[in-house]
C-alpha cells in the first residue's frame, strides 16, 4: 500500500460508511485519529480488509459529518466517498467528494454492510431498489428541465425581437403626435410593453441560470457593470440617464461565471433604478472587495428602500412590493437561485426613504484542471 490517495467513505444516517486507505496509515492509528476529532460514543467504528484496501466502517445514527473537519485531518490528496440515497448530497458534492448510490457500491462490501451489526437487512435492500427508481426519475427530470429551459431561452429571444420593434414604433408614434389624449394612450402602451419586456428579460436570465454549465472566465466589475448599463438603457427617461447615476469601485479582475454574475448584478441594479426615490437624484454605488477566497460585491442605492413587512418575502417568486411597479417579480428570486448555483449568499439592509444595500458574497475560483477521482 504505497499510493498516496486516500478515500474516506462517510456515514449518513442509516447508511453505511467506509474508509478505504492506501498509504502509510494503518488501521489502528487511523481509528485513533478519528476518535479524537468527534465524540465517538454514538459512532461505531470497525475495520475490514478488502483487497488491497483497508476499510473502516463508520456508522452514524445522528447527523452527517462536517466534511471540512474530515478533510482537515487527512493528507492533502485525500478524497472521500459517501454512499447515500440523498440526491441532494450528490448534487452538493464538491471536488473532494465522490458519491455513490447504494446500487453502485461493490457487492462484496454491500454484503459486509448488511451482515454487520445494527444494519437492517431489509431496509437496505429496499433502499437499493428505491435508489434505482430515483436514478431513473432523476434522468427524466433532467431531460424535462433541459427542454423547458431551452424552450424558455429561445422563446424569450424570439419574443423580444418583435417587441423591440413595437417599442421602436411606439417611440416614433410618440414623436409624431401632439394630442394629449393620444400621448396618454401612448404612455400606457409604453408601460405595458416595458412590463412585458421585463418579464421576458427575467425569463431569459432564469433560463440562462438553470440550463447552462458553470463557465469560468476573468471578470472586472467595472467592465461588467458597464455592459449591464448598456442593456439597461431602456430604463432611461427624460430626467434620468443611468450611466450618470452609477459609481463603480474597481478591484481588478477575478475568476467566476460571467453570465450568472451578470444576471445577479443586473437584477440588483435594475431594481435600484426602478425603485428610486423621486424626491432626489438616484445614486447607485457598485463596489467589490476581493477577499482572496471569496469576493464581496455591494450594490447600494439611495432609493425608496424596502418596508419591513416585505423583507421576508422579496426573494419569493413573482412577489412584487407594489402592483404599479413594472417589475416582473422574478428578479430577486432569480438572484437567489443564481447565487445558489454559484454557492454564494446575499444579505440585504434597507431603510424606507433612505435606500437599500445588497451585499453578495461569492466564492472565488481559479481556472485549473478539476480534481478527478
Amino acid at each position: 500500500m504505497t499510493t498516496t490517495d486516500t478515500y474516506i467513505l462517510v456515514a449518513e444516517p442509516n447508511n453505511a460508511a467506509y474508509v478505504t486507505l492506501h498509504g502509510f496509515i494503518d488501521s489502528i492509528s487511523l481509528l485513533a485519529r478519528f476518535k479524537h476529532f468527534r465524540s465517538f460514543e454514538e459512532y461505531k467504528i470497525e475495520a475490514v480488509k478488502y483487497e488491497s484496501h483497508l476499510l473502516v466502517l463508520f456508522e452514524s445514527p445522528e447527523n452527517p459529518y462536517n466534511y471540512d473537519q474530515i478533510t482537515s485531518i487527512l493528507a492533502p490528496t485525500s478524497k472521500f466517498c459517501i454512499i447515500t440515497q440523498d440526491l441532494k448530497r450528490i448534487e452538493d458534492a464538491h471536488a473532494n467528494m465522490l458519491t455513490l448510490l447504494p446500487s453502485q457500491f461493490p457487492d462484496y462490501l454491500l454484503q459486509y454492510i448488511t451482515r454487520s451489526n445494527e444494519f437492517k437487512d431489509e431496509k437496505f435492500r429496499k433502499g437499493e431498489k428505491f435508489s434505482r427508481v430515483i436514478e431513473l426519475q432523476k434522468k427524466q427530470l433532467h431531460k424535462i428541465q433541459f427542454e423547458v429551459d431551452r424552450f424558455a431561452y429561445s422563446v424569450s429571444h424570439d419574443l423580444r425581437a418583435p417587441l423591440t420593434s413595437v417599442l421602436g414604433l411606439v417611440y416614433l408614434l410618440d414623436s409624431t403626435v401632439q394630442d394629449d389624449v393620444q400621448k396618454k394612450y401612448i404612455n400606457l402602451m409604453k408601460e405595458s410593453i416595458q412590463r412585458l419586456d421585463n418579464t421576458i428579460r427575467d425569463i431569459v436570465a432564469y433560463a440562462q441560470n438553470s440550463r447552462t454549465k458553470i463557465m469560468l472566465s476573468e471578470i472586472s466589475i467595472k467592465e461588467l457593470t458597464n455592459s449591464i448599463l448598456e442593456t439597461l438603457t431602456y430604463l432611461n427617461t427624460d430626467e434620468l440617464n443611468i450611466r450618470n447615476c452609477v459609481e463603480i469601485t474597481d478591484t481588478g479582475v477575478f475568476v467566476q461565471d460571467r453570465s450568472r454574475l451578470q444576471i445577479v448584478l443586473q437584477s440588483l441594479i435594475a431594481n435600484a433604478i426602478r425603485y428610486r426615490d423621486p424626491a432626489r437624484n438616484l445614486k447607485i454605488e457598485v463596489s467589490a472587495v476581493n477577499k482572496g477566497r471569496k469576493i464581496e460585491i455591494c450594490v447600494k442605492d439611495n432609493g425608496l428602500g424596502i418596508k419591513e413587512e416585505h423583507m421576508s418575502k422579496i426573494f419569493e417568486m413573482f412577489y412584487r412590493t407594489n402592483d404599479q411597479s413594472t417589475g416582473s417579480g422574478l428578479g430577486l428570486y432569480i438572484v437567489r437561485e443564481t447565487l445558489l448555483n454559484l454557492k454564494g449568499k446575499i444579505e440585504v439592509k434597507s431603510e424606507v426613504h433612505k435606500g437599500s444595500e445588497f451585499k453578495i458574497t461569492i466564492p472565488l475560483k481559479t481556472i485549473k484542471h478539476p480534481l478527478t477521482v
Partner: protein, 135 residues
Amino acid sequence: MINSLQSVLLIEDSTIDMFIHTKVLEQSGIADEIVCQPSARDALEYLKEASHHGFLPQLIFLDIRMPDMNGFEFLNECADLPNDIAQKMKVIMLSSSIDSSDIHMAKSYPQVIDFISKPLTKERVLEVMMQFFSS
C-alpha cells in the same frame, strides 16, 4: 457641434426594424444619405462596389442577429474586402439581444465603436454622434 455625415449604411434583415431605424436616423438628421442593405451578403457586395468608386459610408449600423450570415460573421468577412475597408470602417452594432456576451464580443472588434440595444432612438443616436463625430 455634431458633424453631419455624408452617408451611413444600415444592415438589417427585418423590414419593420429597417423602417424604424431609417426613420430614427432621418429624424436625428445625422446624415445626408441613408443606405439600407437587407442582409450581410448584400452589404458586402455594396461595400465592394462602393470602394471601387472610391467611397465608403462613414458609419455603419449593423444588426447582430440575421439569418444566413450574422453581424459577427459579416465583420469577419470584411477582412477580405479590398482597399483596407476593414480598417477604415466604423461600425455600431445593434441588437435586441440582452446577452452580455454579445456586447462583450461586439466590443472585441476594433471597427466596432459602440453597441446599441434596440430599439434605436434619436437620443441614443445623438449620444453616439456626440461621442465619436463631433468637433
